[in-house]
């Protein structure tokens, strides 16, 4: 056993400290992608859920098809499609700087994918709202859209805050394949560092812990919110 090499690969925190700036900007990029994709996925997912319970069959069919397509396609494929298909082949955002187009294409792919999961989570939340709530809303004279927006969805959201947290945690970790859409975030930074200064265990753990710093509080926040916002019946 080569003890020098062992020390170098396992316990040498040098590369980690020397490159902390790059690591930090890598995670900043991850946060920027996560935040925007989370917002868009929640909006699009809510819209899809509304369509899936709407009385208009065309809307239901469209949303169902969307969910089944996006949920059953690997994310890497979707992001690859955004980068290669949308930009390189179809010329979408081809004029923009690579950092800008990479960001928005990754946001598009990731939020489109995550929206399918948000939709299904929210739909299960809608199923927890007693039918009487909808009947009461209708009896007061609220049309379908308002019944949904003012009575059903607020209660459905509160019922699925914790599972929505899981969806978002999965999404944050899913940002790690954004490189295939041309977006340079934390995992891409790690890979770059491995190539440049060699793969060391502290470097690897540093990145793993970096993701946990993002995801653990997300889980705690959503767990706390779920308790706080729970609807008592």
């Amino acid at each position: 056993m080569d003890w020098n090499n062992f020390y170098d690969k396992l316990l040498n925190f040098g590369p980690f400290l020397e490159h902390s700036n790059e690591i930090w900007s890598g995670f900043l990029a991850t946060i920027r992608l996560s935040a925007m994709a989370a917002v868009l996925a929640l909006v699009l997912g809510t819209l899809l859920a509304a369509m899936r319970v709407s009385p208009v069959s065309v809307m239901r069919a469209t949303a169902t098809m969307y969910v089944n397509t996006l949920r059953n396609t690997p994310l890497t494929l979707i992001l690859l499609f955004c980068g290669l298909g949308l930009r390189d082949t179809l010329g979408f955002m081809a004029q923009a700087a690579p950092t800008v187009s990479g960001y928005w294409l990754a946001v598009a792919g990731l939020s489109a994918y995550t929206a399918a999961f948000v939709c299904e989570t929210l739909r299960s939340g809608i199923n927890t709202v007693p039918i009487g709530q909808a009947e009461a809303a209708r009896s007061v004279g609220l049309p379908f859209s308002q019944s949904l927006r003012l009575v059903i969805l607020p209660q459905a959201f509160r019922a699925v805050i914790a599972p929505l947290g899981s969806v978002l945690i999965a999404m944050i970790k899913n940002t790690s394949v954004a490189l295939v859409a041309g977006y340079f975030e934390a995992t891409a930074t790690m890979k770059q560092l491995f190539d440049d200064v060699g793969a060391t265990v502290p470097l690897f753990f540093g990145f793993a812990i970096g993701y946990m710093i993002l995801t653990l509080p997300t889980g705690l926040l959503f767990g706390w919110l779920a308790k706080r916002m729970a609807v008592t019946r």
Binding site: E135, G141, L142, L150
Partner: protein, 261 residues
């Protein structure tokens, strides 16, 4: 409650006799089960019609067809002369004119008592927040819940929740109020507080269709009893006639079972 009965009936006698709710030849099926059979029913303005009958006989279904929470397969339903729209905005508008009180209250669980009452007026009638609140507080005062306006439904007893549900329906200024077994989910000591509110409403001339098992209320507040069994209107009569001198065997049998205790 007994001495209020003559007053109730006087209202109907003086009231406009125009039909407010008309069901003509209404039929409904749940799959192969024929739950409403050739129902013809007219409810006049200011009239209190109490629907009674054995469980599973179609009482609730009948009540729910009047604001189209249940669709019908045949026949027509007119509210104030207008046919019940199939769906969409027109149906929503019509529903806002028909108050509904459910067996399980169905207060909006995520909204306060006050918000429960103001939601319809602000969103459907487009009242200002202040106007809606003022009127809601007046209604809550009337049903005795004003001091709990900031609480959530789950913090109230069943009787209190049901009184809020009545206030919520009244806030829309309905032409007619439907009560679908409003006291069936309540503890005995809470039934009276809800029936008192309903009796007051009846006395003030509100048009009401009430599905209930409360024979005391039926006797005292109703202008007319409609007895339904097996999806059919078996007998229609004044409360006195119905309870003392029922004509049909089915009604006699029903009454003999419920009035002995």
């Amino acid at each position: 409650m007994m001495d209020s009965a003559p007053a109730v009936k006087a209202v109907a006698a003086n009231g406009n006799d125009a039909p407010l709710v008309e069901l003509k030849n209404v039929n409904k099926y749940f799959g192969s089960v024929h739950v409403l059979k050739d129902i013809d029913l007219v409810v006049r303005r200011g009239e209190v019609v109490v629907v009674i009958g054995p469980s599973g006989g179609g009482k609730s279904t009948l009540c729910r067809t009047i604001n189209r929470l249940e669709s019908i397969d045949e026949g027509t339903i007119l509210i104030d002369g207008q046919p019940l729209p199939i769906e969409g905005k027109a149906l929503a508008r019509l529903r806002s004119e028909v108050g509904m009180v459910f067996q399980s209250f169905n207060l909006f669980a995520h909204k306060t008592i006050l918000q429960n009452v103001t939601l319809g007026p602000t969103k459907v009638l487009k009242l200002s927040k202040a106007q809606a609140k003022e009127e809601a507080m007046r209604l809550l005062e009337r049903v005795g819940i004003a001091h709990q306006a900031e609480k959530y439904p789950a913090q109230l007893s069943g009787g209190q929740q049901q009184r809020v549900a009545i206030a919520r329906a009244l806030a829309m200024h309905p032409k007619v109020m439907l009560f679908d077994e409003p006291t069936s989910a309540l503890d005995p000591e809470m039934i009276k507080e809800v029936l008192d509110v309903m009796t007051d409403l009846a006395r003030e001339g509100m048009t009401m269709v009430v599905v209930t098992h409360e024979m005391g209320f039926a006797r005292n507040a109703a202008n007319r009893i409609v007895f339904i069994a097996d999806g059919q209107i078996v007998e229609e009569n004044t409360p006195e006639e119905f309870f003392t001198n029922a004509q049909s065997e089915r009604a006699k049998d029903f009454l003999s079972k419920i009035l002995v205790h």
